[in-house]
């Protein structure tokens, strides 16, 4: 116990016991601890998604915040799930690649379809992360320029060099979305 602001602070009050968060629209209530199905304080969000919840679509490549493979959306913004502690995700809304398809119809997100149509990948390992960044971009800016796309994806490592086809796919998806919206 210690004193803060004239109050007694119980360390226990500051320790996290449970984490409630929403992943791909589903609420999750996770217990903190060192058991195999619990979330250890040292677990990253990427680890929890993949190892605890089986959402293996999020790929981990460098695990050091330098390649963006593990990108997911947190409250709509692109973040690196390997650099986030799950215990610090209380109340957050997370979207992963598994959450992009329409949950009712199973229809692909226009971005996913555009990536297929343009073969905007080679080995495909970095693709889920790239699609998530592109999703964050199009949500904020439905008609990005090529430069804006490059900027939004500037953290993504793609070793096969599919960059050129990725840019085309995102431009294509953006046109498609606008076309659908304008009833074309």
């Amino acid at each position: 116990m210690a004193v803060s602001n004239g109050r007694l602070v119980r360390k226990k009050d500051l320790e996290t016991k449970r984490i409630n968060l929403i992943i791909n629209g589903q609420p999750y209530d996770l217990e903190v601890g060192s058991g195999s199905h619990q979330v250890d304080p040292a677990h990253t969000l990427a680890h929890t998604l993949r190892e605890t919840l089986g959402l293996i679509g999020t790929k981990v490549s460098c695990d050091m915040g330098a390649c963006a493979s593990c990108t997911v959306l947190m409250d709509g913004k692109a973040v690196l799930s390997c650099m986030i502690l799950t215990v610090e995700c209380q109340g957050k809304e997370i979207t992963t690649i598994e959450g992009l398809r329409d949950p009712k119809t199973g229809r692909l997100d226009p971005l996913q379809q555009a990536f297929i149509d343009h073969t905007a990948f080679q080995c495909g390992f970095c693709t889920p992360g790239i699609i998530m960044s592109a999703k964050a971009l199009l949500s904020e800016n439905p008609s990005p320029t090529e430069e804006e796309i490059k900027e939004a994806l500037s953290g993504h490592f793609c070793r096969c060099i599919s960059h050129y086809q990725v840019i085309k796919a995102i431009l294509g998806a953006s046109e498609k979305v606008r076309g659908d919206r304008d009833g074309r």
């Binding site: 602070v9 500051l14 320790e15 996290t16 040292a42 330098a66 953290g155």
Partner: protein, 323 residues
């Protein structure tokens, strides 16, 4: 990552209380983009027992003008700083510096407090434990700085002492040009330190139980030419090889005030006072800029393979002045 105890601080003093209680064995986590690499690489000789989340402290992410100060809360995200209309209009050097950091994802996560307090990037210091490390260099109490005899292309050309790592923070360089001070909170209350006094060759001015609370910048009420330039091999991701921040006021064609800060050349951002003096009272032209650029690196002492940083620094200073 090895495990640790984890706390969420709700208030600044809760964070300081925990730091005090765990005496050097607790670390603060804000954006996490630097701390988690430290924990995963296990390159320090000691692993923390406790991680204190400070993102749970509400209301510490403001960017606001108040009286004669611009105040930025330690938890303001780099993406907010880079896109803040106030900063872009009046403190553009800081917005540019924040935008130059890393990648969009990291800027969405990292905070300005964390950017200033992040650990140095020296690759000897950061060599990971699990592939034959860590290296016990001078910064970790060892006897020598391996960079001096080894590959020091990114190390200091000024001000190194025992350790020759450079300050990796881009925002700190802009803040140096803006005459910023850092407000620090600790168990004994608050104190302020000029940004240029915050860094030392072996670390920074924070005591083990203190945290950065706020950045203060004298309010800008007059138009000034501001520029942040960063030399890297790649536009995103990279830390600066050299960076320069300038803040120059010109009245009727004559320079009335000039502030030039160099980054990634020394343990902290370095104000090039002699170069500033060259410009003051003069018309800004190519000759003045070249003279100032030369003066800015006059006291540089390169290591065995980083003399290129001198040339790069000169070029950036000149470009920033003439911009």
């Amino acid at each position: 990552m090895r495990s640790f105890k984890h706390f969420n601080a709700r208030m600044v003093d809760e964070a300081c209380v925990l730091l005090e209680k765990y005496k050097g064995k607790a670390v603060l986590n804000a954006g996490g983009t630097d701390l988690l690499t430290t924990l995963k690489g296990e390159y320090l000789l000691q692993y923390p027992q406790v991680v204190v989340n400070i993102k749970t402290i509400s209301g510490l992410d403001y960017i606001t003008e108040d009286g004669d100060l611009l105040k930025i809360g330690a938890l303001a995200r780099l993406s907010s700083i880079a896109s803040s209309p106030l900063l872009r209009d009046y403190y553009s050097v800081l917005a540019e510096a924040a935008h130059s950091v890393a990648t969009p994802q990291i800027r969405n996560m990292a905070t300005i407090g964390g950017n200033i307090c992040q650990d140095v990037r020296c690759w000897y210091y950061r060599y990971p434990r699990h592939i034959g490390g860590p290296i016990q260099c001078a910064r970790k109490g060892g006897s020598t700085c391996l960079a001096v005899t080894g590959d020091n292309r990114y190390n200091a050309i000024m001000g190194g002492k025992r350790c020759f790592a450079v300050c990796p923070s881009d925002t700190a360089v802009a803040l140096a040009a803006l005459n910023a001070t850092i407000r620090i909170a600790g168990p004994e209350g608050e104190r302020s330190v000029a940004i240029t006094d915050f860094f030392s060759p072996m670390g920074n001015a924070l005591k083990p139980d203190e945290m950065v609370l706020e950045i203060n910048v004298p309010r800008i009420t007059y138009p000034a030419k501001q520029k942040f330039l960063k030399f890297t091999l790649r536009k995103p991701i990279d830390f600066a090889i050299v960076s320069v921040a300038t803040f120059i006021t010109v009245k009727e064609g004559i320079c009335t005030d000039a502030r030039i800060a160099l980054g990634a050349v020394a343990p902290g951002p370095v104000r090039a006072y002699k170069a500033e003096k060259v410009l003051k009272g003069r018309r800004i032209d190519h000759d003045a800029a070249s003279e100032a650029a030369k003066e800015a690196v006059a006291n540089a002492k390169p290591l065995s393979n980083n003399a290129d940083k001198i040339e790069i620094a000169k070029t950036l200073v000149k470009m920033a002045i003439l911009d």
